[in-house]
């Protein structure tokens, strides 16, 4: 296990290196002078030269990359051009809303999608199954911001149940925090639910045909126990794998959802950074999100041994 863990950790190094090189080159290899682009149309020659010096653009490419990577390892992500602050501080200030949104979304998703998939598989071919499948195709096709606005329209503007937009910090009370998070999380979870319910259904269907399910039923086990303990438990690995892949969709969705609901998190920071061509911030956020994505999939890989004792590394 320790050996496997080490092997997997080492395997993420080339992946993260490619990510880092790509993010680094993105700015350097663009057509035109990046310093002039950052400075904007109205900058003087001296200002452009200053930015070029600050970015170290006069050094050879490899030296620039070395300095950049070295700084990242020391926790220095550079200074934001637009916000005039350390990028690390910017990210720290924005992490709570994004983390809250993601966690609530995942909890919602799993608690909706897994039962949906199990029921669909159990009642395969009935109207219940067809409804779940239809929802899954539908959920995959409606973009998250359309769902978000539809939700705001129905629940905030018409029914006036929930606040329209914005975010309230957890320290100001759990109630308000949750109230502001319900709609965005629900909107964001639709595509996620569609994806995971479908996979759960397929995975459980495969397991339901196995001999041990028949055995469990033959010995008089209740249907709920058969489904949860025998079917779901054995179907868990592919479901968890899909949850890992779906994190990429979740991260993309966070950027959009935060914009729709005006939640001041990392997603909104990304959009502001791009609109203002704030490259240190863009680079940092992309790097951070990719790292999280890779790490989550690593953790999921390792969780297989817990979920299915037959798997040993």
């Amino acid at each position: 296990m320790a050996y496997y863990l080490l092997k997997r950790l080492i395997a993420t190094i080339p992946v993260m290196l490619v990510v880092a090189v790509f993010i680094f080159l993105l700015l350097r290899l663009t057509p035109g002078d990046p310093a002039a682009m950052i400075a904007g149309d109205f900058a003087s020659e001296a200002q452009v030269a200053e930015i070029r010096e600050k970015l170290g653009l006069n050094d050879p490419l490899l030296v620039q990359f070395g300095i950049w990577i070295g700084n990242i390892f020391q926790g220095d992500l550079g200074e934001s051009f637009f916000f005039k602050k350390q990028v690390t501080d910017l990210i720290m200030a924005r992490i709570e809303p994004t983390l809250s949104l993601s966690v609530v979304t995942i909890i919602l998703t799993v608690s909706i999608a897994v039962p949906m998939g199990v029921v669909a598989a159990y009642r395969q071919g009935t109207w219940l199954d067809r409804t779940v499948m239809a929802f899954s195709v539908l959920g995959f096709s409606i973009p998250v911001f359309v769902i978000g606005f539809a939700f705001i329209y129905i629940f905030s503007l018409e029914l006036k149940w929930l606040p329209v937009q914005g975010y309230q910090r957890l320290s100001e009370g759990v109630g308000g925090w949750l109230k502001h998070l319900i709609l965005p999380s629900l909107a964001l979870s639709v595509i996620f639910v569609a994806f995971i319910a479908r996979m759960t259904r397929t995975s459980v269907l495969e397991v339901l045909g196995e001999d041990y399910i028949r055995t469990a039923r033959a010995k008089g086990q209740t249907e709920t126990k058969v489904l949860v303990r025998h079917a779901l438990r054995n179907a868990a690995v592919p479901i968890v794998t899909v949850i890992g892949f779906a994190f990429a969709i979740l991260i993309g969705g966070v950027v959009v959802t935060e914009s729709v609901f005006n939640i001041p998190g990392l997603g909104l920071l990304t959009v502001d950074a791009v609109l203002n061509r704030d490259f240190p911030t863009i680079q940092a956020v992309v790097l951070l999100f990719s790292m999280i994505y890779v790490l989550i999939n690593l953790i999921i890989d390792l969780s297989y041994t817990v979920l299915d004792p037959r798997i040993r590394y």
Partner: protein, 304 residues
């Protein structure tokens, strides 16, 4: 079924494909949207960029007079805003109809370019074992960046516009195609007929094009359809966020919704109309893709 004997395999496949309900429904919807995009000027639309400050933010069905400033002075044009007007007095109905053009152009070009690039890189990676490791590490790295974020990062270094949006969506799609093609090439190259072709001295490029490529086509058509759907969504997202195609150049469903954001509480329909038609389009393409997968690619059909 005695007549079926007389049909060629191609005819049988076509019959199976077009007999599938998802292909029929999805395909017809896609066709309707394509026709709408092509015949946009004849569907009771006006110039989607025509603005008039005197008729801003009008409700659906409003009839009034647009005051337009031209080189010859002020011109008054009677207008009916079927779906209302936006902050600049532009006709939302015309913008939504014309918006179909960008979505389809982006969807189809992204699919075509990513399949083309992915196919070449995938063939090389799958066939030339020495390059495989290097190419696939790069693809793994690109796939580690969440697709929308990667598109946002790419679009940030270019000037906003159609070309940069297409490039930005192609970059995250290519690695997925490469992975698919490579895995197919790896299994096809072990087939006896490929070995026979190698023994017969077939040159490498002919071997790839004539013997390996045709067998990757069916899954690629399926994959291409799904790329069209996801490219349409990503374009809408980018334009909605204001990072894609600017609203004053060409109307797209994404930038119509983006422009309507600030007035959403008073005029929610300006977001809901383009939103619904966008969702219907993506749904239609996805249904078409599902149907094609079930009929063309039995291996994948079993999996999901």
């Amino acid at each position: 079924m005695t007549e079926a004997v007389a049909l060629s395999p191609t005819q049988l496949t076509l019959r199976r494909v077009f007999g599938h309900p998802s292909v029929l429904i999805g395909g017809s919807l896609v066709l309707v949207i394509c026709l709408m995009a092509i015949f946009a000027p004849f569907l009771g639309t006006i110039d989607p960029n025509l603005n008039s400050t005197s008729t801003r933010l009008k409700p659906p069905g409003y009839e009034g007079v647009m005051k337009i400033y031209t080189d010859e002075g002020r011109v008054k044009v009677p207008v009916t805003y079927r779906l209302g007007s936006d902050t600049l007095g532009r006709d939302v109905y015309s913008r939504v109809i014309y918006g179909a053009r960008i979505s389809l152009v982006v969807g189809v070009s992204v699919a075509a370019i990513s399949i083309f690039l992915g196919m070449i890189i995938g063939l090389v990676a799958g066939y030339f074992r020495r390059l495989d490791g290097f190419i696939m590490r790069i693809m793994d790295g690109l796939m580690a960046i969440p697709a929308i974020l990667l598109a946002i990062a790419v679009v940030s270094v270019f000037n906003a516009g159609l070309t940069s949006v297409i490039i930005a969506i192609v970059v995250p799609e290519v690695p997925r195609v490469v992975r698919l093609v490579r895995s197919m090439v790896l299994s096809i190259r072990e087939e006896p007929y490929v070995e026979a072709a190698i023994t017969a001295g077939t040159r490498v490029h002919l071997l790839l094009i004539r013997h390996i490529l045709p067998n990757t086509l069916a899954p690629l058509i399926v994959q291409g359809t799904f790329i069209v759907a996801s490219a349409i969504i990503v374009e809408a997202i980018l334009s909605f966020l204001g990072l894609g195609i600017p609203a004053d150049e060409v109307p797209t469903w994404g930038n119509i919704m983006g422009a309507a954001r600030e007035n959403f509480q008073l005029h929610p329909h300006q977001i809901l109309y383009p939103g619904v038609i966008l969702a219907v389009t993506v749904l239609a393409v996805n249904m078409l893709g599902d149907g094609l997968r079930d009929t063309l690619d039995p291996r994948f059909a079993k999996r999901v």
